[in-house]
Amino acid sequence: MPKKALEGIKVADFAWAFVGPITTRTLASYGAEVIKIEGGVKAGRMDAQRFSGFFKDGVPGGVDRSSDFNMVNTGKLSVTLNLAHPKGVEVAKRFVAWADVVVENFAGGVMQKMGLGYEELRKVKPDVIMLSSCMMGQTGPEAWLGGVGPNLTARSSITHIVGWPDRAPAYLGPHTDYITPPLNVLAILAALIYRRRTGKGQYLDTSQYEGVLHFMAPLLLDYSVNQRVANRNGNRLAYAAPHGAYRCCGEDRWCAIAVFTDEEWERFCQVIGNPAWTNDPRFSTLLGRKENEEVLDKLVEKWTINHSAEEVMSMMQAAGVAAGVLETAEDLLEHDLQLKHRHYFWNLEHPEVGQYRTARPSFVLSKTPCEMRRAPLLGEHNEYALKEVLSMSDAEIAELVIEGVIE
C-alpha cells in the first residue's frame, strides 16, 4: 500500500514566482514527483524568485541562496532547459509525455508562443492535464495582462475592505497569492479523479481573478441585490463587542478579543475584575456596546495594557471567551506551543544556505502524512531526469550541453 497520498503522480512544472510553485509544492509534499523546469544561468529565464527573494543572513548572490525560493520549492527536482532553443522545447515535450500533469503560471499566451500550448502538448500526451494559472485567464480582452499579488488584491476588491473607514485602505501585500494555490490543487486533483474514471485529460484555465472572487461572494451578491458597496470597518464586527485588537504591555504587543453573547460578556467582565464601568447600563446590551464602541474599546484597553498579550489570551480563553495573541513571525517560529505540537514547521538542511525552516501544507492526512524535503539546487537533477526519466544516453546529453539546451 502506498505510504504517500499522491504517490505516482508525475508533474512537469514550468511554474515560477509564487502561485504556480506553491501549487506544485503541495503536490510534492504529499508524494507527487515534481520536475521543475527552468532556463539556466546562461539561457536566462530562471525562476525570478531566485533573485527577488530575501537571502539567508542578508547576503545575496548566486542562484540557490534565496530563502524565499527555497521555502516555496521544497520537494521538487530541478532541471534546466533552454526553452528558447527548439531542442529545449523538444525535451520539454518529452517530459510532458512522461507527466500526468503540467503546471504553468506565465501570463496568458506565453506557453503557446513557446510551442508548449495545450493543443501542442495533447499531441504528445492526449490525456494530459494542464493547468495554466494566470491573473486574468487565458481568454478575453485582458488575457495578456500579468500582475503580481498586490495588484490582484486591489483588483478583486479585497483591498477596498481592509483598513479604516476614515482613511486609505491598508496595504495587504500579495494576499491573493495564497488563495489561488489550494484552488489550483483542488482543480488538478479533481481532474486526475475524472481522468481515472473517463480516460479524459483536460485543460484547466484558472484565472486567479475568478477564483479569488469566490471569497468576495457575499459582497458581490450584496451589490447585485442591494446595490450596496460594503466599506472597510477597521476591526469591527456588526454583531460583536468588544471586538478588536487591544494593546497589551510590552513593545507593540496586541491581543485580539471577540465577545459575542451575553454570557461571554459576563465572563469577560469577570476576567477583568468587574470594574465599575462594566455596570454602566450603556454596556449591558450588545446594542449599547455597539453604540458606545469607541468608549468601550478605550476602557478595555485600560485593562489589557497592564497585562501581557499571552496573559490576556489565557485568562480569556480559560473563561470561554475567544481571544488570541497577535503573533509575530518570531512568535510563530519560536514560541507558539500549538504549532510546535503539530510539527507545522520543518527543519531542512540545504547545501547552500544550511538549515532553514519552512511550513508543511495546511491540511494533514491522518494515514498518509506529508514529507518535506529541501528545495533543489539549480539543475541538480539534470542527470537523473534525462537519464532515468527520459532514458537519454550520455552522448545525447553531451550534445544537449554543447548546444546550450541544458547546463
Binding site: 503541495t26 488575457a143 486533483l189 458581490l220 496586541w254 470561554g320 492526512l365
Partner: protein, 424 residues
C-alpha cells in the same frame, strides 16, 4: 435551475455538517459535481443569521452569506445529538464518500461518530475536520473567531498603519474561507489515495495553520535573517525600511495600487518607464521623473528626497484621473497599475468586461423570492465540465422528503414523528 450532467466529482457524495468555519468546502465540492447534502439542525444553521440579507430583510432564508457558500448543495435537517438522528446519519454515511465537519475536537467522538466509528460503517469514508487549531495540542479547545484566527496565524500583526492597531479584512471571515478551501484540496488528495487503495482517512485542517501560511514570507525573513518586518511595509524587498513608500494612492474617485520600485528596464517589462511616458504625455511628469534612471532604482538606493521627488508628481497625476480612466490607460499602455476595485466595478464597471467575455457570471433562480441572483461562476475554466454553481442554496429542510422518504425509504408517518420530536 441547471443541473450538472457530469462534473468531475459526480459519483461522490458529501455529508456537510460544517458551520461558518467550513461552508465553502462543500460548496467547492458541489461546484465540481459532487452530491453535497448540507445537514443542519432542525431550527436551521446559525450561519443563516449572518448578513448581508436580501433587500436587508434579516431572515434565515434570505442571508446572502448563506446563499453564497451553500449554493450547489441540497439540504436536510437532522439533530445528530439525538439517538434517532445518529441512526439516520449512520445510514447516510454508508452512502457517502465524505463527511465534512467543523465541530470542536472530540465532539464527533463523543457522539459515537468519530473517525473510527465512521470507518467501521464505511471503510473508505473520508472525514474532513476543520477546527481552529487542529485535533490535538495545547490550544485544541481554544475558542476562535475570525479575528482570533487572523491574530494567531501571525498575519494580522503585519498589516495596517503604524499609528493604529493591526487590522484584519473586514468581511467575511476570510480565515475560515481559506481553511475551507484547503480542506477541499485535502479531501480530494485523500480521495485520490482512497480510490487506489480503498483506504479512507481523516483530513485535519487547522484554521490557524491556514493563516500561518499567509505569513510564510515573514516567518521566512525571521528564520533567514532574524529580522522583524515592520507593520504595513509588506514584502521584505524594501531593504531601506526607514523610508515609507506609497503603494496605495488616492485618485479622483477612490484609490489605485501602484509601486514605482523594482520595475526598471532590467525587470521585464519596464512598467515604470511606461508610466513615466504616460505622465509625460499628459504633461504631468516632473523633470525628476523624466530623468530618473529606473535601472538603478533599486530599493537600496532610495533616499527620502528621491522618494518625495517621484511621489509628489505621481500623486498629482493619479488625483487627476478616475479609477476607470487609470485602468483604461493601464490596459492600453500595458502598465501594471490597478485600481482598488469595489464590487460595483467588478460587476458593472470596466473590470467586468473581462469576466463577461469569459462567461463568468451565473444566474440562479430563487423562486421563493421571485427573483434570480447573479453568482460568481467557475473557479477554473476547464475543457471538460465547468466547476460552477449548479443550484441555489437549500431552504431549511428543503430536501428532507427527497432524501429521507424517497431515498432512504423512511415512511411519511415516521418522518412526521421525527419532526415533532425535533429529530429532523
Amino acid at each position: 435551475m441547471t443541473q450538472q450532467t457530469e462534473g468531475m466529482l459526480s459519483p461522490c457524495r458529501v455529508l456537510d455538517l460544517t458551520d461558518e468555519k467550513g461552508l465553502l468546502c462543500g460548496k467547492l465540492l458541489g461546484d465540481l459535481g459532487a452530491d453535497v447534502i448540507k445537514v443542519e439542525r432542525p431550527s436551521g444553521d446559525p450561519a443563516r443569521n449572518i448578513g448581508p440579507f436580501y433587500h436587508d430583510e434579516a431572515d434565515p432564508e434570505k442571508s446572502l452569506f448563506w446563499f453564497a457558500f451553500n449554493a450547489s448543495k441540497r439540504g436536510i435537517t437532522l439533530d445528530i445529538e439525538t439517538a434517532d438522528g445518529r441512526a439516520i446519519f449512520k445510514k447516510l454515511v454508508k452512502t457517502a464518500d465524505f463527511v465534512i465537519e467543523s465541530f470542536p475536537p472530540g465532539y464527533m467522538d463523543k457522539l459515537g461518530l468519530g473517525y473510527p466509528e465512521l470507518e467501521k460503517l464505511n471503510p473508505g469514508i473520508i472525514l474532513v475536520s476543520i477546527t481552529p487549531f487542529g485535533q490535538t495540542g495545547p490550544y485544541k479547545d481554544y475558542k476562535v473567531s475570525d479575528i482570533v484566527a487572523w491574530a494567531m496565524g501571525g498575519y494580522m500583526y503585519q498589516w495596517g498603519d503604524p499609528d493604529r492597531p493591526p487590522v484584519r479584512i473586514s468581511h467575511h471571515s476570510q480565515a475560515y474561507l481559506e481553511a475551507a478551501t484547503e480542506a477541499a484540496a485535502g479531501a480530494i488528495a485523500a480521495l485520490y489515495h482512497q480510490e487506489l487503495t480503498g483506504e479512507g482517512q481523516q483530513v485535519d485542517v487547522s484554521i490557524q495553520e491556514c493563516v500561518a501560511w499567509y505569513t510564510h514570507y515573514f516567518t521566512g525573513v525571521w528564520d533567514a535573517q532574524k529580522r522583524k518586518q515592520p507593520r504595513g511595509t509588506g514584502m521584505p524587498q524594501a531593504y531601506n525600511l526607514d523610508i515609507p513608500i506609497t503603494r496605495l494612492w488616492p485618485c479622483k474617485d477612490g484609490y489605485v495600487s501602484w509601486v514605482w520600485w523594482g520595475q526598471g528596464k532590467r525587470s521585464s517589462p519596464p512598467f515604470a518607464e511606461w508610466l513615466a511616458e504616460w505622465m509625460e504625455s499628459k504633461g504631468m511628469a516632473a523633470d525628476f521623473i523624466r530623468e530618473w534612471d529606473w535601472d538603478i532604482a533599486g530599493y537600496m538606493s532610495l533616499t527620502q528626497e528621491v522618494v518625495d521627488s517621484i511621489e509628489e508628481p505621481t500623486g498629482k497625476f493619479f488625483m487627476a484621473h478616475t479609477r476607470a480612466e487609470l485602468l483604461e490607460g493601464a490596459l492600453k499602455r500595458h502598465v501594471q497599475l490597478y485600481p482598488v476595485s469595489t464590487p460595483e466595478d467588478i460587476m458593472k464597471g470596466t473590470p467586468s468586461v473581462q469576466l463577461t467575455a469569459r462567461d463568468y457570471w451565473v444566474e440562479l433562480e430563487h423562486p421563493e423570492l421571485g427573483a434570480s441572483i447573479t453568482y460568481p461562476g467557475a473557479f477554473a475554466y476547464t475543457s471538460a465540465v465547468l466547476p460552477r454553481v449548479s443550484r441555489r442554496a437549500p431552504l431549511i429542510g428543503e430536501h428532507n422528503q427527497e432524501i429521507y422518504e424517497r431515498e432512504l425509504g423512511i415512511p411519511r408517518e415516521q418522518l412526521q414523528m421525527l419532526k415533532q420530536a425535533g429529530v429532523i
